[in-house]
């Protein structure tokens, strides 16, 4: 009898336990920490005595101004300047795609392609709508605006009144979807924040495990653009999200819809502008010992004008992209190893292994070999080993052309000297491509071409061990 009641007890406990653990799966909203934008470490820095370098009331002023200009993580939005209001220009969606006068006009065909892509991305909900199974439509939590709109649509029409007109409306909701800034902020929160941090400072919790570090957007410096050192175009940021940055932690987000990626671009732009305005306000204060509302508006419109003009610096090549030839590869090698012109080997090493003479320094005391360069964010950086064939900014010939011609913003990789012609840059592109892809092509012709010069091995000594 006793053993029987014990087993009954065990069975009862199992059932209770199982039903409880099922409950855990229900959609009860988990407690979500509230996210704030904070000021950057630079703004909050203190003197050795512990005195804030920027007085606390000014810091509060800066924080308040930033909130006025860019909102909060829950309600991000661009403040509209008076002249924008007059001309009907609105940086905030949904007005932006049609009303944009700055960098990045969305043409009719762009909008059409967003719609086609939405149809792909939302194919499952659209299928359910087509079949009239409205209750099976599920929407990700990272599209709160769509969730709300969908719930409102369902609430508006009783199930028995859902006719074809309703069906068309329901479909349009998905096909024409473009996330609001707040929704993009939610997407960012779920997919980017753990690396890039709430303000885009590149300091999310995952960041400390990564090398290179996630981008800190707040300087407005982006590495892999088609515009050199300037602020990036929408297309540059879009490409990064679409392709990811090969060889680093930055993943490709192609799985999202184009509309969502564009929304993320909007949000990255907002964070970046916010960081730039913050820096500019702190700099103004350091100069003038005061901050007025005029300064705030001036900083804001100044930063916006930088972003607006991004497309002006677009680097294109007039003409057809040339194919590599043995001659161009040999010419590229010559330039690569020429200390008086391109001088690539001084950083990348005579064989492109990223171990040029200037890339590392030896600590006189410990004898330790350390990277010699720092990037704009203050972190150690080493020239790329070009033999791996991993090009973060893209592998197309034009990508490498842009990288070599413009250099890489925020890193020691310099612009090509202006004495180099476009043909020279192409020669370098061909040589760099050959280093990883077809090394057999490098050596044969290049050695002959180089007989009269000093051999490359005499340039730049190899650092200790590599």
């Amino acid at each position: 009898m006793r053993s029987e009641s014990r087993s009954l007890l065990v069975a009862a406990l199992c059932i209770v336990g199982a039903s409880w653990s099922c409950q855990l799966d229900t959609d009860r909203p988990a407690a979500r920490p509230v996210i704030h934008y904070s000021l950057s470490e630079a703004t909050r820095a203190t003197s050795p005595e512990g005195e804030p370098l920027v007085p606390l009331d000014v810091q509060a002023n800066v924080a308040g101004s930033l909130e006025m200009l860019f909102g909060t993580p829950a309600h991000p939005q661009f403040m509209l300047l008076d002249e924008w209001k007059e001309s009907g220009f609105d940086l905030n969606w949904p007005q932006y795609p049609k009303g944009d006068q700055g960098s990045g006009e969305f043409s009719e065909s762009d909008l059409a392609s967003l719609a086609t892509d939405n149809a792909r991305y939302f194919r499952t909900p659209l299928m359910h709508i087509e079949a009239g199974e409205y209750e099976r439509v599920a929407i990700h939590s990272w599209s709160p605006d769509l969730q709300r709109a969908w719930a409102a649509l369902l609430a508006e029409t009783a199930p028995e009144l859902r006719n074809d007109e309703f069906k068309a409306k329901a479909k349009a909701l998905f096909v024409d979807y473009y996330p609001t800034l707040a929704s993009s902020a939610e997407l960012y929160r779920q997919h980017c924040l753990h690396c890039h941090g709430p303000e885009g400072g590149g300091d999310g919790p995952t960041a400390r495990f990564l090398n290179p570090l996630p981008r800190d957007y707040r300087q407005g410096t982006f590495k892999f653009t088609a515009v050199g050192k300037g602020t990036p175009r929408r297309a540059d940021l879009f490409r990064i999200l679409d392709e990811g940055v090969t060889g680093t932690a930055m993943p490709s987000f192609r799985r999202f819809s184009k509309a969502q990626l564009n929304g993320l671009v909007d949000y990255v732009r907002l964070l970046s502008m916010r960081g730039m305005v913050e820096r500019s306000l702190v700099a103004t204060f350091a100069e003038e010992e005061a901050l007025t509302s005029g300064d705030v508006v001036a900083a804001y419109s100044d930063v916006w004008s930088k972003w607006e003009k991004a497309a002006e610096k677009l680097l294109v090549f007039e003409g057809e992209v040339p194919h590599p030839t043995p001659e161009s590869i040999a010419r590229g090698r010559e330039l690569f190893l020429d200390a008086k012109s391109a001088n690539c080997f001084s950083c990348h090493g005579p064989e492109g292994r990223g171990n040029g003479a200037s890339a590392f320094v030896t600590d006189p005391q410990s004898g330790e070999v350390k990277p010699a360069y720092k990037d704009d964010w203050g972190h150690d950086i080493i020239p790329r080993n070009l033999r791996y064939g991993i090009f973060r900014g893209g592998r197309r010939p034009i990508d490498l052309f842009r990288r070599i011609k413009n250099g890489i913003a925020g890193t020691p990789m310099p612009e090509a000297p202006s004495s180099l012609t476009a043909d020279d840059i192409w020669a370098l592109v061909h040589y760099v491509g050959t280093l990883s892809e077809r090394p057999q092509l490098v050596h044969a012709p290049a050695h002959d071409a180089h007989d009269s010069h000093s051999t490359p091995e005499t340039h730049g000594s190899e650092p200790a061990k590599h």
Partner: protein
């Protein structure tokens, strides 16, 4: 009590069979099959599944029945036995035969899919003229097409990432390579999985029978970013394949002018 326990034991095979019967309806079974040899793979899977399921159900039913019949309260003490040579022979021989049967029945399919001598030869693509070179690397899929001259490794090669475009109803042969560690090319809808080994160039073939976009995933834990290696295979009509290759050529050799703002 004994009834309760034997019913609980009986519930296991019943639930198992029921979820199997419902699986299609719940979309928890296999994704659709869109490759020419996928049916054979599924056939093999089903063969093994039915053999195992039969054994499973029989064992479970026996178990439930024994729990019911021989509960401690109702029967006398159990008889002691030293085992039975005959019984052991039987339960060794039957699985051995079953395993041999499985081994022999899959040989033909395996040879057809994986042996190079059985690769398609007569179509547009062959081991000598693959449609593309597929590079796996931490953590990308890259596809290099031979370009206009049809020869890989020349200056007009075209590259693209994450999306492998192939024509429908065509025997497609590609070369699988890895830039760094072991990855695995896996397309569930094709029932095709092949490891990519650094230093090896491994020919692979398939024939997709339906246009569409199918998931391509890395099926070998290859590092922290393993999850990032999610690409797709886009199966398109022959004409669309041509237009897509032309578009890829324009994109790859772009001079940067016709790009978005």
């Amino acid at each position: 009590m004994r009834l309760l326990f034997s019913l609980m034991l009986l519930a296991v095979p019943i639930l198992g069979v029921w979820t199997f019967l419902k699986a299609d309806e719940w979309h928890t079974w296999f994704p659709q099959n869109v490759s020419s040899f996928g049916g054979e793979i599924d056939g093999l899977f089903n063969l093994i599944l039915y053999m195992v399921a039969f054994t499973f159900v029989v064992t479970e039913v026996c178990l439930a029945w024994f729990v019911f019949k021989y509960s401690a309260k109702r029967s006398d003490k159990g008889a002691f036995t030293h085992g039975s040579h005959k019984l052991e022979m039987i339960w060794t021989a039957i699985p051995a035969v079953a395993l041999l049967f499985i081994a022999f029945s899959q040989m033909e399919t395996w040879a057809k899919i994986k042996f190079q001598k059985n690769f398609p030869k007569d179509g547009a693509y062959s081991v000598e003229h693959p449609i593309a070179e597929v590079w796996a690397s931490q953590f990308d899929w890259r596809f290099r097409y031979p370009g206009d001259d049809g020869v890989l490794g020349t200056v007009d090669d075209l590259e693209t990432s994450f999306e492998f475009v192939v024509p429908v109803d065509t025997d497609v042969v590609f070369k699988l390579r890895s830039r760094d560690v072991i990855h695995s090319f896996f397309v569930p809808e094709f029932r095709l999985k092949q490891d990519a080994l650094p230093g090896h160039t491994i020919p692979v073939w398939f024939r997709a029978t339906k246009t569409g976009v199918y998931d391509l995933v890395c099926a070998e834990l290859c590092g922290w970013g393993h999850y990032k290696m999610a690409g797709s295979v886009r199966v398109v009509s022959a004409e669309e394949f041509k237009t897509r290759m032309a578009a890829l050529k324009a994109e790859w050799f772009s001079n940067g002018k016709e790009e978005g703002q």
